[in-house]
């Protein structure tokens, strides 16, 4: 084991600014993660050539892989910097921002589109009323167990980043929001508004824009069965579309 940690970081001062690569060498300590190495650079912003530079900008929050804020490309794969352990990574460690989202600066991107998609598919359960609506129907335990897996989604964007169909030429909203439709449609109270969510999935950018490359299910850090969600909703969307047409 070498006594330095070598990094190559893609830097960009802002949207529309030219991108450049900068190398860094950090003294080795065991059990570091990418975040702690970026913190080292923040404390002492000197690159591998020994020149002073600006500290690398990144975003992070929970540091336990439940918020999704520190998503970035690490050695070419989209994942969270907090659970990317230096001792397990091939060096030089290459850090790049996610490519599919608008860049803010360096490793920080704007993932607003992920949250806009959740709003678009109405990924919530409407329970507000002018009076107490009382308890909802019970959820079967077997259903709760698989639905819980879907609820682990942290909207980190790794699935969208790895999806070839999610790009600037296509309106595809990506696997995360679609899987949330399955979650909220499975909920006994959420099911009451199932039609509203399926209606959105029939639009351009919805479920029919999936290309079955199946990278999403492998890129997902929470091991959410995204391709199962997509296929299951294909069945629901087909039934819903035919039913809606026949009732017209």
């Amino acid at each position: 084991m070498s006594n330095v940690i070598e990094l190559r970081i893609k830097r960009q001062d802002g949207p529309g600014q030219p991108a450049r690569w900068e190398s860094f060498k950090i003294p080795y300590r065991p059990k570091l993660n990418v975040i702690s190495v970026l913190m080292e650079i923040q404390q002492n912003p000197v690159n591998a050539e020994g020149n002073r530079t600006t500290p690398v900008v990144w975003e992070c929050n929970c540091l336990e892989e439940v918020c999704g804020a520190c998503s970035m490309n690490i050695n070419g794969q989209a994942r969270q910097a907090c659970t990317a352990l230096i001792d397990q990574l091939k060096q030089p460690i290459v850090l790049e921002p996610l490519r599919k989202f608008p860049l803010v600066r360096d490793l920080m991107v704007d993932r607003t589109v992920m949250f806009d998609s959740l709003k678009k598919v109405r990924a919530w359960i409407p329970i507000d009323g002018t009076y107490d609506l009382g308890p909802g129907p019970r959820m079967a335990e077997a259903k709760r167990q698989w639905a819980y897996e879907l609820s682990k989604c942290m909207t980190c964007g790794c699935c969208a980043e790895s999806c070839p169909q999610f790009n600037s030429r296509s309106k595809f909203i990506g696997p995360a929001a679609i899987s949330q439709v399955r979650l909220f449609n499975a909920h006994p109270t959420g099911e009451m508004n199932k039609h509203e969510r399926l209606e959105v999935l029939l639009e351009e950018g919805g479920i029919s824009d999936c290309g079955n490359a199946q990278n999403c299910v492998r890129a997902c850090p929470k091991a959410i069965p995204l391709t199962t969600s997509l296929a299951d909703l294909n069945r629901d969307a087909n039934k819903f579309a035919v039913d809606r047409w026949l009732r017209k």
């Binding site: 999610f166 824009d209 079955n212 490359a213 199962t228 296929a231």
Partner: protein, 202 residues
């Protein structure tokens, strides 16, 4: 493409790939074996088909228009896709890319194939002779092997995606089984096609 019909258009695109196009491909490849095994029977089948009243309308509605729609809309689908197979080197991601590449190859191949062998309206025997002469050139042979295998791959892999699109194979296990099934379809149809080509050369 209007947003209102987006879902229907995509689903029609998927359905046409199997019915009638995929079915026609399987029928076409099977019939070809007959052409090389017993030319007389093949000639009889072709003449019967050509003698059927309204065959032109049937060919137009059942074969030509579905292929035209599937091809043109397919190009739109290709345009909306991306390539990241070097970063995400999973088999399924390669298949995703291959599906698009073979789609474009098949479009070029089928356009040439139909233009040279069907449009001029020669007799069945003259068509077989023209094809035999073409595949006896090195370029012609490579063109046909690549074209036919592309068409078969596009159909077999499309069948795998069809089963997902229509909500039949949902879980990873059933999708794995359908991968084996579709691989079998690819191998069988490829063997039939290559055998026919080999017999033309003999």
């Amino acid at each position: 493409m209007s947003s209102k019909y987006h879902f229907v258009v995509r689903r029609v695109h998927s359905l046409l790939g199997l019915l009638p196009i995929g079915l026609f491909l399987a029928f076409h490849l099977t019939l070809n074996i007959l052409a090389t095994n017993s030319p007389e029977r093949y000639e009889k089948v072709i003449n019967t088909m050509r003698g059927t009243p309204g065959i032109f309308v049937v060919e137009l509605v059942v074969i030509f228009l579905p292929i035209l729609f599937h091809a043109v809309y397919g190009l739109i689908v290709v345009y909306g896709g991306g390539v990241n197979t070097l970063r995400y080197q999973y088999a399924r991601n390669w298949y995703y890319l291959l599906q698009r590449i073979t789609g474009i190859i098949t479009l070029i191949f089928v356009a040439y194939h139909v233009f040279t062998l069907r449009v001029d309206g020669a007799t069945a025997q003259a068509t077989v002779t023209a094809l035999t002469n073409f595949v006896k050139t090195p370029f012609g042979l490579v063109f046909y092997i690549v074209g036919v295998l592309s068409a078969i791959f596009h159909f077999a892999n499309g069948l795998w995606a069809f089963l997902i699109t229509w909500g039949i194979t949902i879980g990873p296990r059933s999708q794995k089984v359908s991968t084996w099934f579709c691989s079998g379809v690819f191998v069988i149809l490829s063997a039939v096609a290559l055998k026919t080509l080999a017999q033309l050369l003999a």
